[in-house]
Amino acid sequence: MYLIANATSKEIVISDLKLPLGPRKAIDLDRVRTREQIKQSRDLKACFKGGHIKLKRDDNPDHKTQVVSAEVKDEQIDKIRAAISEEIKSQLGSTQSSPPGDMMAMMEQIKAMIQQGGGVAGPVAGSSVSENDDLDDETLAEIHAKRMGKMTKGTMGKVHYEEKSVKDSIDDRTSELDGLLE
């Protein structure tokens, strides 16, 4: 995994990788480009240097060349299916040449899931949560509220405030703004 995130509030396009990345979005580059391409990308380096993109996770920091396939080939699926079929046969202890119908349906499901997982080349959202990732404000506030509740348990305060009261046309302003903002 080579997870990067857009740390800005604007879309960034990594031109030499031909890759757009939306504001505050994250993506696993290993799923869409080879490690060679990633390491040779000058635009990506410039984005790191400028702080516009942050590296969240690198599972292969020594960047040994890996061939990462963005697609799962049918031969691989057939091999997996054959292995599962053998396993089921051995567990059932049956002389059946092929697994029963519901097992076949399950294997088709697994095959479909593998194909789905192998082919996605899009943003990976939410895989590492930090203040810069794309959680909505409501959820973030909830997380922080819980933290504050824990932190302030048993805390008490004695505070005085300097007070003043001023005549203000706030009612006029709010009515006027209500009309403008409708």
Binding site: N132, A141, H144, R147, H160, E176
Partner: protein
């Protein structure tokens, strides 16, 4: 009964505002604290002096104006600290968040019902690499939510617009209220917003404000920051600069530098929306750093020397420069609450 409250959690001062009949009531305290070492008689000392404090287990933090008194009583032995630095919360300083959450709880209390709203403000996008406010915004929202409040967050410069109602006169003579530039010159940051009919168009902030000026002048003159601040508050008059006083002279120079920086950066952002604004813009300034006499003239003098992509109609002070931001937050809180009902 439902409440609508405005809250301005600034680097120097913490303020809340609430409507009370035809008036707006503002409550304020200094946003600073000192940590006292636990001792057998600590509670007696606090009670005897009637100091404001926050207690967390066996730790005590004297806060507000009293924290300044304690720091002056024990120079070098206690450190005066602030929950905010450069306008934002430091996520690595949990004690600071504890103090701030107590300020919030003691000033506002728990929300009386589920229709009560607090509006607070955060800094706009930083243009000088200073820390952004995403953690600050989320943590502040969490503090309010922990007390049951519905939360609305706006940018600080926008609050100035909502409080002061600048007006744009369109080429055909019609007036568009809440249209213009609102600038809050705080202690930790300057925040600048362009709005049109109450809606924010662009915003920016920079950590080049009151604290930056004090620090730079102290470096240049060798005077302690406390003396710089005192002269800034008592002697600085931009219409009558004492050029023989090195501190005043340096203050004048760094103020000019700050104003030039802010408008230059703002001009860059403005370029993206230039075509929408051909009429001259009204500028409203607020915040403690804008308080020295003649500040508006100083701003005018500096921007007349810049080649800006917009025309300035006039530069004026907020009617209550220290309260404009919290007042604007209260305005927005009332509007938001109406929509909830």
């Amino acid at each position: 009964m439902s409440k609508a409250i405005g809250c301005d959690c600034g680097t120097m001062f913490f303020q809340v505002a609430e409507k009370e009949n035809d008036n707006v009531k503002v409550r304020r305290t200094r946003n600073a604290f000192v940590e006292l070492e636990a001792s057998e008689d600590i509670e007696e000392v606090l009670a005897r002096n009637d100091w404001q404090y926050v207690q967390d287990g066996n730790k005590f933090y004297v806060i507000g104006e009293d924290s300044l008194r304690v720091a002056n009583m024990f120079p070098g032995k206690v450190e005066l600290r602030r929950p905010l630095q450069d306008g934002v919360l430091n996520k690595n300083e949990e004690k600071k968040m504890l103090v701030l959450s107590q300020l919030i709880e003691t000033s506002m209390g728990k929300a009386p019902d589920d229709k009560s709203v607090v509006c607070t403000c955060v800094s706009s996008e930083s243009v000088d690499g200073s820390p952004d406010s995403s953690f600050h915004k989320a943590r502040l929202a969490g503090m309010f939510k922990n007390l049951g409040w519905n939360i609305k967050v706006i940018e600080e410069g926008h609050a100035v617009i909502l409080a002061e109602r600048p007006v744009l006169v369109e080429p055909d003579g019609t007036e568009s209220p809440y249209s213009g530039i609102g600038i809050s010159f705080g202690a930790g940051r300057v925040n600048c917003v362009l709005a049109y009919k109450g809606l924010q168009v662009i915003g920016m902030s920079a950590a080049r404000s009151g604290d930056w000026i004090d620090k730079k002048v102290a470096e240049a003159t060798g005077e302690p920051i406390s003396q710089i601040t005192k002269k800034k508050e008592t002697k600085l008059d931009f219409d009558n600069i004492d050029y023989d006083d090195d501190v005043v002279f340096a203050l004048d120079a760094y103020y000019a530098e700050m104003i030039k920086f802010v408008f230059s950066k703002f001009a860059f952002k403005f370029a993206a929306v230039k075509s929408q604004f051909e009429a001259p813009l009204e500028v409203v300034v607020a915040g403690g750093t804008s308080m020295p006499k003649g500040f508006c003239s100083k701003v005018r003098e500096i921007i007349d020397g810049l080649d800006l992509p917009f025309e300035i109609k006039d530069v004026r002070h907020a009617s209550e420069p220290r309260d404009a931001v919290v007042n604007g937050c209260l305005t927005q809180a009332i509007i938001t609450q109406k929509k909830l009902k």
